[in-house]
Amino acid sequence: MVGLPRLPRHEFDRAYLERLIAGDPDTEAHFTRYFGDLLSLKLRSRLRSREQIEDAKQETFARVFTSLRRKSGVKTPEALGAFVNSVCNNVVFEMYRSGSRTVALEEEFDAADERQPGADSAIAAGEDRERVRAALVALPTKERELLTWLFFEGRDKDQVCRDLHVDRDYLRVLLHRAKNRFRERFVQEYTE
């Protein structure tokens, strides 16, 4: 049996928090990467465009760093994740209040962000994209089709269930299997 692999991770302990407060570049890079992924996942259902999501993420990080350096907001290292989530909620709420047109993302989500990223992040993004592509291509054909129908074509889920002769419960199980297989391959891509 090949056990479920894990993405690289740090423990959010006191030392991590102190490095973050001190502005250690590696720790900051880890922090923004780790929570950036989680924030993207969260924000995607709340904001309309990549630009809005990037703005919300940057604003969240800025407020978290400011708060950490003032030594306010996070009492214990274990509370760091909850704090980031809470700050993000406030940012999104303020964006709603400021009158931004914020609806759930549709197909236009994948339109390119016209702002140019830095060279390093562009390379990293390109490498990540290739790893994601390699992990997806390695999936069984039916799982790739399922993911394409759900997330690329945006097919109606009830119709997908009817086409596959499965119910909604089993659709979750199919997605669960695809996700586990993807995760395994994705981590392999990182470690090779």
């Binding site: 992924d37 790739r144 889920k157 997605l175």
Partner: protein
Amino acid sequence: MDHLQAVNTLAIERYLLDEMPQEERESFEEHYFSCLECAEDARAASAMRDGAAAGLARTQAVPAADRGAVLPFRPPVRSWRSSVALPWAAAALLAIGLGYQTVQGPLLSRHEADSVALTPSTLRPASRGQEAVVTAGPNGAVTLAVDLGGAQFESSIKYDFATADGKTIASGVATPPAAGAPLLLMVSGSVLKGSDTYVLTLHDGPGVLTPAPYRFRVKAP
């Protein structure tokens, strides 16, 4: 939401499928920002969904004209060679054979029919860590279809049945089923006594195969 609830309810899958009400969505977000395990799962799920949304999962060999065609996961059986029922049938036959060997007293009396229909109770990944209720069959025997949740393994699976207080009541070794097929296990009614809840654990060599044991209660038919 806590970690067990997130795992048991396939929370990340429901989150991706937009099946959560707002309150539960917020509760799950609060959880995965704090839980390292779920955060890893969420990051992988996010990468998978974003990759698929960008078209990276598309199969290149499919002609444009056929792009709308749907291949069912459970196609109707057309021939023995392509039948997805084969692993099930083989496993069921094995289960019946094992049942004859393990059930005290024959599963069927000499005066009854030559065959018996088994209705397996499915233990799915969603039921890990919580109790599923299964219905006993002939002579109190229980047939379980254990959904391995896409887990891959190489050689054999060692299984252990125990009572809720940890006393082993039955164990054995099974050949791994074909990819995607469940592991079928039949447990004799004679050993399923003296406890309300039972725990099934799967091992692969020295390690535990499943992240959490499968728990189930037996209901009389």
